[in-house]
C-alpha cells in the first residue's frame, strides 16, 4: 500500500481530469482506472457558460481530490492558488505546479522551491511537479514536501520516459514517494516507471486522448500493477554478453 503524508492508497495510478471529450467519459475512465487520487484545476467562473459541477460526481465516487496550481507563473501566485483550493475543496493537499512558459510548460525550479517552502510552513501537503532533477527533488524533500512529481517528458506530449536515467537517481535517493508525472503516453511506459521503483504515476492525456479512454484506463491500471509486482519480484541483471540458459551439449562432437 502506498502512503503519502497521512493517507493510504491501494492504487498507484493517479489520474487527471483534463482533456476528456465529456464529463461522463471522464468519470467512467477514472472508475475503470481504479485511481484513488484525482487532479483538478481551478478557474474563474465564466459568465457566458453554464456552471458545470465537476466536484459532486467526483466526491460521490469517493476519490481523493488533488487540486493543482496550474496557471501560476511564480511562487506568490502558486501560494494564492493553494489557498484558493484549500478554501474551495477543504483540503490541504496541493499539486504545486509553476510553469510560466506556455510552449513547453517546463516547471520553474526556483519559484517551485520558494512556494514549497512557504506552503509546507503553512501546513499544506505539497506534491510539487518538477523537472527530473535529483538535486531539486532532494531540496524539496528537505523543505517538507510529501512527495515529488518529476516529469517523464513535457506535459501532454505522450513522449514517455525521456528522463529515465535521472528518474532512476531520484528514485534511488528519495526518502519520500516519487510520482512520475507528465509525458507518460502508453501503458508500457507506466509499467516501466513502476518497474524502476517509482511509487506511483500520474496519467491524464494518454487516457483522455485515447479513442477509447475507459479501455485505456483499464490498461494503465493493469500496467501499473504489473510494473509494481515486477519491481517487488526483482528484475534480473542486464548483462552485456550472452549467458546461456540451456546446457551447451556438444551434439556434433559425439
Amino acid at each position: 500500500m502506498l502512503s503519502i503524508a497521512d493517507h493510504q492508497f491501494d492504487s498507484r495510478l493517479f489520474t487527471g481530469t483534463g482533456k476528456f471529450s465529456d464529463a461522463k467519459t471522464m468519470l467512467a475512465a477514472i472508475e475503470a482506472s481504479q485511481s484513488q487520487l484525482v487532479t483538478l484545476a481551478m478557474k474563474r467562473i465564466d459568465h457566458n457558460k453554464d456552471f458545470d459541477d465537476l466536484l459532486t460526481p467526483l466526491q460521490q465516487m469517493g476519490v481523493k481530490l488533488l487540486p493543482n496550481t496550474a496557471g501560476a507563473r511564480n511562487a506568490k501566485e502558486a501560494v494564492f492558488a493553494a489557498e484558493l483550493a484549500s478554501e474551495m475543496l477543504a483540503t490541504k493537499w496541493i499539486k504545486l505546479e509553476i510553469h510560466p512558459d506556455p510552449k513547453y510548460l517546463m516547471p520553474d525550479a526556483i519559484e517551485t522551491l520558494k512556494a514549497a517552502e512557504i506552503l509546507c510552513a503553512k501546513g499544506f501537503t505539497v506534491l510539487p511537479y518538477v523537472h527530473a532533477d535529483p538535486v531539486l527533488c532532494y531540496r524539496l524533500e528537505e523543505a517538507g514536501c510529501a512527495a515529488v512529481m518529476p516529469l517523464g517528458s513535457p506535459i501532454g506530449s505522450n513522449q514517455g520516459l525521456a528522463t529515465e536515467p535521472f528518474l532512476e537517481i531520484i528514485i534511488e535517493q528519495a526518502n519520500i514517494p516519487v510520482v512520475i508525472d507528465a509525458g507518460i503516453g502508453a501503458p508500457s511506459q507506466a509499467c516501466r516507471a513502476m518497474e524502476m521503483g517509482a511509487d506511483a504515476v500520474l496519467v491524464n492525456t494518454a487516457i483522455a486522448s485515447s479513442a477509447d479512454p475507459v479501455q485505456m484506463a483499464k490498461c494503465f491500471n493493469q500496467a501499473v500493477n504489473t510494473g509494481r509486482q515486477a519491481y517487488l519480484a526483482g528484475l534480473g541483471n542486464v548483462e552485456k554478453q550472452a549467458k546461456h540458459t540451456s546446457p551447451l551439449t556438444n551434439f556434433l562432437n559425439l
Binding site: 487527471g16 481530469t17 483534463g18 482533456k19 476528456f20 464529463a23 471522464m26 487532479t39 483538478l40 484545476a41 481551478m42 478557474k43 474563474r44 467562473i45 459568465h47 456552471f51 458545470d52 459541477d53 465537476l54 466536484l55 459532486t56 481530490l65 487540486p67 493543482n68 496550474a70 494564492f80 489557498e83 484558493l84 483550493a85 478554501e87 474551495m88 475543496l89 506535459i155 501532454g156 500520474l202 491524464n204 492525456t205
Partner: protein, 67 residues
Amino acid sequence: MITIEFNGLAQELGYNSSLLQLIELKNLNPKSLALVLNDQVVPRSRWAQIECQHSDKIDVFSAVAGG
C-alpha cells in the same frame, strides 16, 4: 444601489448585500466555490457576515478539469 466588479464585469447590488447574497443572486452553488474579495481569499464561513462595498472587486472560482 452600489456597483461592484464581479469576475471582471460591473454588477449593481442593493445596499447591505452580503457576499452570500451575491452568490445566491448569481445562482451559484456556494459549496463548490472559492471567493476572492479585493485579492484576499474569504473563508466560506464569513460570506454571510461580510457586506459588499461600492467598488469592491469580487472574483469567484470553481474547480475545472485539469491534470
